[in-house]
């Protein structure tokens, strides 16, 4: 579709002295008219099939269901993670009221409708696949007088960790994600207004992937090291995914767990590493994410393959080697976002990854992986975990119910 572009340039080329005198506005109108005319022509020649594509901003993700949305939902372009601390006086009864309100807000906003008492209702009309996912920290479950799964606690201390309290822990997680950043911001504002009687913001992390429409849906994301990040994820909608992600125990049945870790990435140090070294550190090609023993992103890494002089093609210290377990239960579903904050001092970047993983059981699935990476992973040279939090993600709810009802009623 180069036609509109052509007509823009021809419109500019044909601009007259009068248009020049009248300023850019007239030229702009002329160009717009030219595009319109051109599109009209192509629409008629293309026949009835050439209906304008539905706007992505109008797309919605179902809110109600057995599972909360925002986990098996294809990751949206923008993700915001907010952790709240419950106020001292917030009781179990208060939690019921809070979750009823937040559920109602999320149910409306994700479907493109303003929340009740929404003071900016116009900002609610472009959901762009908005999802809101709620998670409960250990103290939330204690206040609810519920039984917490054994893994619902801070992760064991890892030698690589340099954790900051301002990016760690929390009682209530809000994961708000959409292809439109304004939808995310409005939703966060609305939800946080409705938590004020019950909780206060502990930390907030804003993340991004590629914008909607920039790459084909389903393309594995790239992090700010340039790496393809998330290739080995189980595919949503498969039995494999269901087994890795969904918990089936008690009030968490249909839910899962979320590990949210802020991983600082030292881009300046990474810059000093040549391309070969970068690929060796991960065990994958930067070009397409294929393992160093393969050609396609989704080729299985061959850890037995050796170079002519006998070294493993995928080094023992590489991330892909260290993250992989013989035990197939030790797998997780990653759904992270990049962050790129304002640099401090002389630095030119303050960047990294909001690592987010979902798994049925943190201790059984996530911790063994992280232990191996903690012991040896060449990527640790360029990364440092600076935040860490674990949440229980309750199941979804039906219309009329609320998220958390299996714990709170």
């Amino acid at each position: 579709m180069t036609r509109p572009g052509k007509s823009v340039s021809s419109g500019r080329a044909g601009s007259t002295r009068r248009q020049f005198l009248l300023g850019g506005a007239v030229a702009g109108v002329g160009a717009a008219a030219a595009i319109g005319a051109d599109l009209a022509v192509s629409a008629t020649t293309d026949g009835p099939a050439a209906e304008p594509a539905a706007l992505n901003g109008e797309q919605t993700v179902r809110f109600y269901g057995a599972h909360q949305a925002g986990i098996d939902t294809a990751a949206q372009a923008n993700g915001l993670f907010v952790a709240l601390d419950l106020l001292d006086g917030t009781t179990r009864e208060d939690l019921v009221r809070m979750m009823r309100i937040l559920t109602d807000d999320a149910a409306r906003l994700t479907q493109g409708s303003p929340a009740l008492a929404d003071s900016e209702p116009e900002l609610a009309t472009v959901p762009a696949r908005l999802t809101v996912t709620f998670g409960f920290g250990p103290r939330f479950v204690a206040r609810a007088r519920g039984i917490a799964p054994g893994w619902l606690k801070a992760l064991p201390a890892f030698a690589v960790d340099r954790l900051l309290p301002e990016f760690s822990d929390g009682d209530l997680l809000l994961q708000i994600a959409a292809d439109d950043p304004l939808a995310v911001a409005h939703t966060a504002r609305m939800l946080l207004k409705d938590t004020r009687s019950f909780a206060s913001v502990r930390w907030s992390q804003q993340g991004f992937r590629r914008a909607h429409g920039s790459v084909r849906p389903g393309t594995t994301m790239r992090n700010l090291f340039g790496q393809v990040d998330g290739t080995s994820n189980p595919a949503p909608g498969t039995a494999d995914f269901d087994q890795v992600v969904w918990n089936d125990d008690g009030w968490l049945a249909g839910g899962t767990s979320a590990v949210v870790r802020r991983i600082g990435m030292d881009l300046d140090k990474w810059d000093r590493l040549d391309r070969g070294g970068r690929e060796q550190s991960v065990g994958r090609y930067l070009s397409n994410g294929a393992p160093l023993t393969g050609t396609d992103e989704f080729d299985e890494p061959d850890f037995e393959a050796t170079t002519p002089i006998g070294f493993p093609v995928i080094p023992e210290f590489s991330h892909v080697r260290r993250a992989r377990s013989e035990n197939t239960a030790e797998r997780i579903f990653r759904r992270g976002y990049n962050y790129d904050d304002r640099p401090i001092g002389e630095a030119v970047s303050l960047s990294g990854l909001i690592f987010v993983s979902f798994q049925a059981d943190v201790d059984r699935q996530f911790v063994p992986i992280q232990k191996r990476l903690d012991q040896l992973d060449l990527l640790n040279e360029w990364t440092v975990p600076i935040g860490s939090a674990v949440f229980a993600i309750p199941p979804g709810c039906a219309e009329g119910g609320f998220v958390g009802e299996t714990l709170l009623t």
């Binding site: 208060d94 019921v96 809070m98 309100i101 009740l116 008492a117 207004k193 409705d194 009687s197």
Partner: protein
């Protein structure tokens, strides 16, 4: 035509064909005729509908909510829809959450200020139309809360219509920074947040705390 009906034609324009013109008329009417605010609620249009269905059967409320408050006053909002063939009039409201309720409208006084006051004759919901109760507009005023209204609570209201039929609905309580209902100097002056008014507007308010 009373002011509320006019307001409806302004905000619920889907059923009106000459919206633009009506809006102009509304503004003109508001500007010119506000001295006559006492006449805004005329005779109930459903007075004559003797054989009509009870009003309460045709009315529904959607998106109802109540502003959280520790004590004193609060307000309830939502969209009241009248699916029936006749206009209906809400003449009163009750709830256990407040010992006294009033039906309030927002109108402009002679000084051009927006003021809150009890509507005479009640809320008219035109046939097949919707009356929006919203901050800065008409609302159900809870004059004296019996207990704190906490976010997430559900409050049940019963509306009574001119034909004595009733309609019950439940609405959640929400924290909301606007819709600040305050008496000023003991007068029935309501500060609805976005309704800008000066200190002397209380002279135009009807006494509502009696």
């Amino acid at each position: 035509m009373n002011l509320l009906t006019l307001r409806q034609s302004k905000t619920q324009s889907k059923t009106q064909s000459n919206t633009g013109l009506r809006s102009g008329v509304v503004l003109a009417a508001l500007a010119l005729a506000l001295a006559g605010c006492g006449t805004t609620a005329g005779a109930s249009p459903d007075d004559a509908a003797g054989a009509a269905e009870p009003a309460g059967q045709n009315v529904t409320l959607t998106d109802g909510w109540v502003k959280a408050a520790d004590s004193g006053m609060s307000a309830a909002f939502g969209e009241l829809t009248n699916a029936g063939p006749d206009d209906v009039t809400v003449v009163s409201a009750t709830t256990e959450a407040s010992s006294m309720l009033e039906l309030h409208e927002t109108v402009e006084n002679e000084s051009g200020e927006m003021i809150m006051r009890e509507i005479e004759g009640g809320f008219v919901i035109p046939a097949g139309d919707t009356l929006t109760l919203e901050p800065g507009g008409s609302h159900i005023m809870l004059m004296d809360l019996t207990d704190p209204l906490e976010a997430g609570e559900e409050v049940t209201f019963i509306l009574t219509f001119a034909d004595d039929s009733t309609f019950e609905f439940t609405a959640p309580v929400k924290d909301y920074s606007g819709a600040n209902e305050n008496y000023v100097g003991g007068d029935a002056e309501m500060d609805m947040g976005d309704a800008d008014h000066g200190a002397d507007s209380s002279t135009d308010s009807t006494g509502t705390d009696g």
